[in-house]
Symmetry: D2
Subunit: 261 residues, 4 copies
């Protein structure tokens, strides 16, 4: 059964900026979705910010295996309610690919618990992406390193928690380094952050970048049933204890109470 992917795009510079429109006539989300659909195991559609509920109604998210997130111009404009909704689906098991300037998106900051800040320079310099973890599924088919001819520099320190795995580290012409491919897990959801992707360069047309995205979608897709109860904190009453115990001492909660929040 195919992996269902929703490619989310902020779709502002895609429409308003001539340079971006020239490179991505169908929007970056359109190009990314097309690249993913080149793999028969993947069925990718798009959603954009200006749509109702940002294109992410509950029933659509419930059927999404992996969501990719690109935003830049207006992170603050994303509804808190939708962010909470996406986070819940990640905890339940939906994969999430956070792309480039998405490092500052509400959803990434919420899932990381850190500022997700970095340094940056928009000079069209060269980036060389090194594969650090060669056996990782996300790195399959890649050479030991590949070049992105023109990139926006993203530099360390990158204020994220220690990752589960460092898959890529980038070298820049101007002297910086960056952990450009990192994995995390939150609940049952696998998260991959990938930094290449500035909108005024044709980075999502790059074949290595496209290969990374396809690999990452497959890695992030978790076939386990959704953990729909993961936000619950169920009471285990004394009379249902796995081992026989006798209640002792005072209590705060009434029988059947659901606990405080």
């Amino acid at each position: 059964m195919a992996i269902h992917v929703v490619v989310w795009g902020e779709n502002i510079h895609d429409r308003e900026n001539d340079v971006v429109r020239g490179i991505y006539p169908n929007g970056m989300h359109g190009t990314i979705a097309e690249a993913l659909n080149a793999d028969p195991a993947i069925e990718a559609t798009t959603a954009t910010m200006e749509q109702p509920e940002h294109g992410l109604p509950r029933d659509r998210l419930a059927e999404t295996d992996v969501l990719t997130w690109w935003g830049h111009r207006n992170h603050g404009g994303v509804s808190d309610e939708i962010v909470e909704r996406v986070a819940e689906r990640v905890w339940q098991g939906m994969g999430l690919l956070v792309l480039h300037s998405g490092h500052f998106s509400k959803i990434f900051k919420k899932l990381m618990g850190t500022p997700c800040s970095l340094t940056w320079r928009e000079a069209g310099e060269k980036e060389r992406v090194w594969v650090i973890n060669r056996g990782h599924p996300i790195a399959q088919g890649l050479d030991p390193h590949f070049v992105i001819p023109q990139t926006e520099m993203y530099g360390e320190p990158f204020a994220v928690p220690e990752p589960m795995e460092t898959v890529f580290i980038s070298w820049y012409d101007g002297g910086e380094v960056f952990r450009s491919g990192l994995t995390f897990q939150r609940g049952a959801g696998r998260i991959f952050y990938f930094s290449p992707g500035h909108e005024v360069y044709p980075i999502y047309h790059d074949e290595n970048v496209q290969a990374v995205l396809r690999n990452a979608v497959k890695w992030a897709a978790n076939p386990a049933p959704a953990l729909t109860g993961i936000t619950d904190a169920p009471n285990r009453p004394v009379n249902e204890a796995l081992e026989p115990i006798v209640e002792r001492g005072p209590t705060l909660h009434e029988p059947g109470e659901i606990g405080f929040r």
Copy 2:
């Protein structure tokens, strides 16, 4: 120089519940602060929810090395602004000890990026805390395991990210297990979650629990200067690049622009 600790208490059950008041006449925060002050390297004071700004004005937090957090009855009543303020100080380097029912506090959920849910039972059963990482500073002076005679059971699954270190795991009479002592890092801030501490039992009078709290305060105190700029994303202009580079291609940002949020 002494480690400055603020012991934060929700102070609701402490005042309103007769059982809790009987065990902790000065509030749980009072007992915890007293236990910490038994160590001459620590200077602990208290702050409570009903105070202005929950007792945590900016200048006080700025001088706090480690904050301990106990809340249960009214997590939702904690101001979002104060939560954001505390998170920033953690990112800058302030240590944070999250205690017992604080697992569901806004600040812990924000820093973890997960639901922080668990299972629970209030039956006064026995908990045996096993030291998993015997060389860890937080475990110093403890026996290989110690018993809390009456406890509220907190059971797995505990919906937190993989910890940096698992320091303690608890065994319960009723058949459950729980990762009762876990470390995390967010920015420059060290975080320790410790589950024992239900308010209707005298757990914060227990000498092993008190030893853990003192050890954890010392572990969490980071003497490095505060990373006050950790939420910034500074631009590194082309003409200040560490290696000489020439700007190439189109740009999105104007010179001197501060970037999007």
Copy 3:
């Protein structure tokens, strides 16, 4: 294409001890292989210690996707050369499942870099295995916890490095806890340690245990090409540098030299 598994058994108690022979007439390795082969995606064969090269000649290992390891009576009798050979295949990408008393095998200690010690008691007591990471592939299809009616207790502290993931933690009748399912990665090879499996109890006939083994095989199989050069440290000569550089200063190595070991 099927996952090729070799189930390695020490095969000493299997032949010499009446109790073990009664429970496992075809050896524990035979029972484990049969359990794995119940999944059409897996093709499992067996190898035992008394065979030439312990049943693990180079060409067989080269075609093995996942190796499972059970030993107890004579870890010291395993050839260092074979241990080195297995380690190299793990680094190249072969998965490894280390079972029960295999915690003290040469191969596990070599890959962990720690003593891998623990505490133990052989009393046929009850073990309850809790799923800590419910979304993990190794836990699929399991209930939140399952019971092994008669087990050998393995207790903390378990002297292994912090794992990549804690999948299971066990509760014992006698009061101990144990991290009974842990994942690690070494090179491109995924490693899963699973503690249930004492030879005088019918644990490998248990359906939950068998499900864990099948899941773990699928998780550990890495379809990436073998990293056959992972032990090499190649020189990158100046004249082949990715960016043009000029050699400066004294050197220790002659051109074309392969480096020291």
Copy 4:
């Protein structure tokens, strides 16, 4: 009380190579020890390979808080017995700093459980070391990045396990990157690998490098009592179980037996 450090040097190129002798008249170990002793909290002495027991008799190691290891020319000449001895002390709690070409030392490979391979180039190129984890004790007092004017390039992939923390990443003139400062823990022992330090350049005279070494020594020193029993696997007899249990079923071990190895 001062931190007792032993600075171990292979002391071959230090004596035999004119260039090295010119830069380090007292050996690299001499320069490193002097740099450490500049901090009054540290008492560093040296040990070298040609001494009896490589200068590391048991009683000296027993009183060593942190050992630093530099070797290159003859890793294979280090006695396996001494390697085992050092590993045991690390597991017990002794800190270990592995320097530069020590990546291929027996002790580092033993503790990592991986090949520890990398790529290299000896061209005196520039290395820029970036601080990734700014709040880490090992990075205190450093600028966000510092330059080593002439270095041997060490490049990724570096075949070590995922570290506990990535403290430094290096950028090289020739286009490579390297995780140049990594922390690990094995047993109670903290391990820091730091790559700068090629013998034909004056790297250990660099003030930033010296600051890193002093910081790392303080970070690695574990004041906890040595875990002298960490390689033992003690039996917990039924009649001493923490919770009353009754022995059930067959057994393999005789009462009082110490278990198999």
